[in-house]
């Protein structure tokens, strides 16, 4: 196909609206490094966004900046505590960006949930399979396809999640095993039990479908754990969220979202494997 014939596809692709088959074809062409089409795509994005630039700017509420800064500072604090506890973790990486992307993905779950998850993982694992380095060691950072997952015969894996807290202090970790479809979910910071109100966990597929919700039984400390069944092909899942439901039988999540998390997919080649200690 000639580049000029791709113009319409490029305009749709710039907005991420091309149907998957066509998008794939176009991606393949762009991957050849065609300068004409890459430039056209960039220009298309900029042109589309003139529609956004035309809008009258609308100031978000002033609390939003404070909220963001408080999230950021909480994360930084956790990172610092974490790195002072395990300096080798950070010496593996070079730039701040890499450090953030590698570590922060799980840092909230791994650190704030550290006690819960480490105890839980410990119970699952036979002694010989205990994660190298224990808490703070590389086992905390396993992602799908990570070759390090194969080092241990048990292959228990903590799912790499990118958490987007909707309410401060809610965190979770998901631990499972590729050979079973059961995944153990650990949460903290949930609202402590109130009559007739339930927290539910929902899985979302990349197609935007919501898989049935799991009721989380929250204890008086605001923590909960649950076992969820996931489809064999976990790559179909995009993320999960925790909501507050007035009705435990609700089949669709409410708008009261406590936490959302996206599954982080990583290709094995993209992972730089720290040396086992």
């Amino acid at each position: 196909m000639k580049c000029e014939e791709l113009t319409d596809l490029i305009h749709e692709h710039a907005l991420g609206q091309l149907e998957p088959v066509r998008a794939h074809e176009l991606q393949e062409h762009l991957a050849t490094g065609c300068a004409v089409c890459l430039r056209a795509l960039r220009e298309s994005r900029e042109a589309w966004c003139l529609l956004a630039a035309e809008l009258e700017p609308t100031a978000p509420p002033p609390e939003m900046e404070e909220k963001l800064l408080s999230w950021i500072r909480t994360e930084k604090k956790i990172l610092q505590e974490r790195s002072s506890r395990d300096p080798s973790q950070l010496s593996q990486t070079s730039t701040a960006a890499v450090r953030k992307s590698r570590v922060i993905g799980l840092v909230l779950a791994a650190s704030l949930l550290g006690v819960i998850t480490s105890v839980a993982t410990w119970r699952f694992l036979p002694a010989s399979d205990r994660p190298l380095g224990g808490l703070g060691g590389p086992a905390d950072h396993l992602t799908w396809g990570d070759p390090r997952a194969n080092q241990s015969e048990s292959r228990f894996t903590q799912v790499a999640l990118e958490q987007i807290p909707q309410r401060a202090g809610v965190h979770l970790a998901v631990i499972g095993h590729p050979r079973t479809s059961e995944w153990h979910v650990f949460c903290m910071g949930l609202p402590t039990p109130v009559r007739d109100v339930t927290c539910k966990l929902w899985m979302e597929t990349s197609a935007g479908e919501i898989l049935s919700g799991t009721v989380l039984t929250v204890d008086t400390q605001g923590t909960a754990s649950a076992v969820v069944k996931l489809p064999a092909d976990i790559s179909q899942l995009a993320g999960l969220k925790i909501t507050v439901e007035q009705n435990a039988e609700a089949e669709e999540p409410s708008d009261q979202v406590l936490l959302r998390a996206n599954f982080r997919q990583q290709k094995p080649a993209a992972v730089d494997v720290p040396t086992a200690r």
Partner: protein, 210 residues
């Protein structure tokens, strides 16, 4: 060349360096953000949150939803500055597109759950439109940018404008727009193509005559 900074401010926004434009500032802040600079994050937030939020409001017509999406977009920017690729777009375009995509995801969710007609005009905001912390000269620059863009958009005819808006703010594909407007697919494609070309060329012309 002009498309690399579609909304350049012709005047300075940086007191120290009169040659610095808004887009150059953004690029510099993005680089600093990638090194973990909180200060750069705040600058980007103050500079772009008004328009990111406006995009969310325009798509969702729901203040709470728009706030959630806007906060999410900036938090992700902080966490993953490496996702911005300078060869693909300018920083503000990147942020507008991320915000647009997230807001449309949420809109689809509302639609699936049958949350009524969100197009009610009464839900549209009537509140201050610019961050009061912005410098007066920044505000002046924004007004000027906006006038330029509006002038560029005036060059579109109603048909071109409506297909562009349906695609951008409602997330409809060419085919869906054709169905919605009961117009042949080929016509929709032509209108999108011509609309975008017109926007680009008019913008370039307006900037060069300044």
């Amino acid at each position: 060349m002009i498309m690399e900074s579609p909304v350049p401010s012709p005047e300075s926004t940086d007191e120290d360096d009169p040659s610095t434009t808004q887009s150059e500032d953004e690029v510099r802040w993005m680089a600093e953000l990638a090194e973990g600079s909180e200060d750069a994050f705040v600058k980007l937030y103050r500079s772009l949150s008004g328009r990111v939020f406006a995009v969310c409001m325009r798509i969702l017509h729901d203040r709470q939803g728009a706030e959630d999406v806007c906060a999410e977009v900036f938090f992700e920017l902080w966490r993953h500055p490496e996702r911005y690729d300078a060869s693909r777009s300018s920083p503000h375009t990147y942020l507008f597109l991320v915000a647009r995509s997230r807001a449309i995801d949420r809109l689809r969710h509302y639609e699936r759950r049958g949350i009524g007609d969100n197009s009610g005009a009464e839900m549209l905001p009537e509140f201050p439109t610019l961050d009061p912390r912005s410098h007066p000269e920044t505000i002046a620059n924004r007004r000027e940018e906006k006038a330029i863009v509006q002038s560029a958009l005036k060059g579109l005819d109603e048909n071109q404008r409506s297909v562009l808006e349906l695609a951008f703010f409602e997330g409809l594909s060419h085919q869906q727009i054709a169905d919605r407007l009961d117009t042949p697919l080929g016509t929709v494609k032509t209108r999108v193509r011509q609309g975008l070309i017109l926007l680009r060329t008019r913008l370039a012309a307006l900037l060069s005559t300044k």
